[in-house]
Symmetry: D3
Subunit: 62 residues, 6 copies
């Protein structure tokens, strides 16, 4: 509370995830108030064959 | 925008996913307007042990 | 099963929603199999102040 | 209808999941009414590197 | 952690929600372990015109 | 892509939302790459009677 769900194409490193959750938590507390411990973030690594934009899976897009 | 999330039991082929996202995007533009490029679709392949109906996991149901 | 969640900017009519769920259900059964009764669709009407793209809320875009 | 989505750290056994969906379905029917067959539950097993609280991934906590 | 999202047709009383979250939290701790304070539950009240089963909105069913 | 969903207790101002989506988009591009235009953020304002922690609705807490 607040809770963030992040859907992103798979392939990001643990280092990127560490940095991302650190920054989002910081920004969240700055803008919305509360404490860092109240911020939950759930990441979903989405396979390219499971995300489509414009009617095409990302396996088919460049 | 719009964004579709589709939860389905795992096991569908990439061909089925290709066809599904193509058709949902087409239908979405027809009914809601906008362009295909505005339509995002995220598919989640759910394991049978992670979906329950009527109090039973789908590994236990026929 | 399958379950579709659709996030869209508020303002669509009930007629559009009726048409959309009818078509998505039809397409879903055609491509994935199963019966129409197995298809659940949940629509979320999102206020323009609650959706952002490119760092801007849709109240600020066009 | 109702539909429950459960996000939990991976590692729970199928026995735990069986018990959990049985109990949640029972509680749901008791409190909200309807039949067990109307209750859908979707479980997501989340990797520790994909959940953060207090700005830290659960791989870094405890 | 765990986090439950519950989608249900609008119209349930606050008393029903109180009872539901109390029971789900109890069941969750019993089956999965952890403490009650770790359990978050988010309820979404869905309008009948925003839920479809079998290709029909719940405003059109029964 | 990536897509962020943010669940938060209702009552935040549009100014806070503007600031939040601006900052999350900036952080996302810095850490994950891509362009701002690829970042979608969906905010859900959750009523206090629809969020529970520790088995109690937030209308009953503090």
């Amino acid at each position: 509370m607040p809770t963030y769900c992040v859907e992103m194409i798979e392939g990001r490193t643990v280092e990127q995830k560490k940095k991302l959750v650190e920054e989002i938590t910081r920004v969240s507390v700055e803008v919305l108030g509360g404490t860092p411990e109240m911020v939950d973030i759930l990441i979903t690594d989405v396979k390219r064959e499971n995300w489509a934009t414009g009617g095409k899976l990302w396996t088919e897009r460049s």
